[in-house]
Structure formats: structure tokens, C-alpha cells
């Protein structure tokens, strides 16, 4: 998958949890999942689990803790799939 494809899939995974859909519509790699998209921190666990299922990867808790932006998630996924 290309970085753009991973980005789009991550955005679609986050969509049900985002309380700022207008920000999600123009999301960039730098967009903060918690601050900009207003995803509840407890829901971030659900996002990580859905990423694991969607991309068939395993995300360690310490790596998940480092995910702040959409770009962080994309890079994590691309590294796991490399």
C-alpha cells in the first residue's frame, strides 16, 4: 500500500470516533488525533485495535503511546508492513 492509501484508510478508521468531522474532512499527516479531531483518549485504544485488524499488524502498547497524529499512525503502519 502507498502512504496515501494507508492515510485514507486510517482516516476512515478514525471517522466514527472523531468529534470534529469538519477537521477530519481536511485532515493532514500533522493533524492531531486527540486535540484536532477530538477523539476521546479512551477511544484511541479502539482506534489502535481497529488499525491492528485492518492492516493485520500488532501494535505494542509503548508504540501506541507514541501515536499523536495521523502521520504517526501512518508511519507506524508502514514500518510494521515493511
Amino acid at each position: 500500500m502507498t502512504e496515501q492509501q494507508v492515510f485514507e484508510k486510517v482516516v476512515s478508521i478514525i471517522k466514527p470516533f472523531a468529534k470534529a468531522p469538519e477537521v477530519l474532512a481536511s485532515a493532514q499527516m500533522e493533524t492531531s488525533i486527540l486535540k484536532d479531531l477530538k477523539v476521546n483518549s479512551a477511544r484511541l485504544v479502539d482506534v489502535v485495535l481497529e488499525i491492528e485488524d485492518a492492516f493485520e499488524i500488532e501494535v505494542k502498547d509503548e508504540d501506541a503511546d507514541k501515536v499523536k497524529t495521523i502521520g504517526d499512525a501512518v508511519k507506524l503502519i508502514l514500518a510494521a508492513k515493511a
Binding site: N40, A42, R43, V45, D46, V48, L49, D61, A64, D65
Partner: protein, 151 residues
């Protein structure tokens, strides 16, 4: 360490009049089963509804959560950290999807059967069924909560 059912019950922070778990009849790293008998004098029956007491749905969800999230969460956390650390953590409700099929009256004993969906980064999600002693299902769904430091 593995906490016993009695130890888990003692660590549950909710107390009367907001405690809806009398017994833990089963407890493991994947499952918890609890029971509670609704007393005739529960405070909410006075208003829900006058002359026709029915246990509020939100109280039934809380009952499902006290077994399926709080008790099971305490047990799971106890497998990872010392008991005194468990006591410093409280499980906060995050989200749920529950369907109701029947009602609970004063004096009814309910049974909550919870199966762990996942336990990650101190977030617990469980599939939970609440039933009457007759076996009739009252409510079922998914509940989730997260362990955070107390105070």
C-alpha cells in the same frame, strides 16, 4: 498475583446506595459472573415510577458494568500489578451499546455474565448479558471502561 472473588469484591469502590453486586460466582481472566438482588427500598423506586416501581435502565447498565468492567477489571489489573496498586485505580465508564428486552422489579435477583472482548492499556471491553433468576434475558450488549488513578 491472582485476586480471589472476595478480594475483588472488597476492592470495588462503589458502595450502597450505588452498589449493585452482592456476589461474584465466577471470575477468571476472560469472564466474570455476578449477582445482585434489588432491595425493595432502593431510593430510585420512589420516583421510577410512583406506585409502579421499575428498575431504571441506567441502573441496570451500571449493574452490568460493576461486574463486567469494575470487578473483571480489578481482577485483570491484579494479574499485572500489586494489590495496593489495584486499590489506587478506579474504572471509569467510557461507552456502551445495550439492548433491553424486559424489566426488573424490586426483589428480583439478576445475574450478570460478562465475557472479555479486550483488555488493552487498562481499557476493558466486555460482552455482557443481564438475566433474571428464571433465566429470562433482561439486557445484553457491550460495555467498556478505562482504569485511571483514583482521586
Amino acid at each position: 498475583m491472582t485476586l480471589s472473588a472476595e478480594e475483588v469484591l472488597a476492592l470495588i469502590p462503589q458502595q450502597r446506595p450505588f452498589r449493585f453486586i452482592d456476589r461474584l460466582v465466577e471470575l477468571s481472566d476472560t469472564r466474570a459472573v455476578g449477582e445482585y438482588t434489588f432491595r425493595d427500598d432502593e431510593s430510585f423506586y420512589a420516583g421510577h415510577f410512583p406506585g409502579d416501581p421499575v428498575t431504571p435502565g441506567v441502573i441496570l447498565i451500571e449493574t452490568m458494568c460493576q461486574t463486567g468492567l469494575v470487578a473483571l477489571g480489578i481482577y485483570l489489573l491484579g494479574l499485572e500489578v500489586p494489590k495496593d496498586e489495584v486499590a489506587k485505580t478506579v474504572t471509569l465508564f467510557t461507552d456502551c451499546q445495550v439492548d433491553f428486552e424486559s424489566i426488573v422489579r424490586p426483589g428480583d435477583t439478576v445475574r450478570v455474565e460478562a465475557e472479555k472482548v479486550f483488555w488493552r492499556r487498562r481499557k476493558l471491553k466486555s460482552n455482557v448479558v443481564l438475566s433474571l433468576a428464571s433465566g429470562a434475558t433482561v439486557a445484553k450488549g457491550t460495555v467498556a471502561g478505562m482504569g485511571v488513578p483514583r482521586g
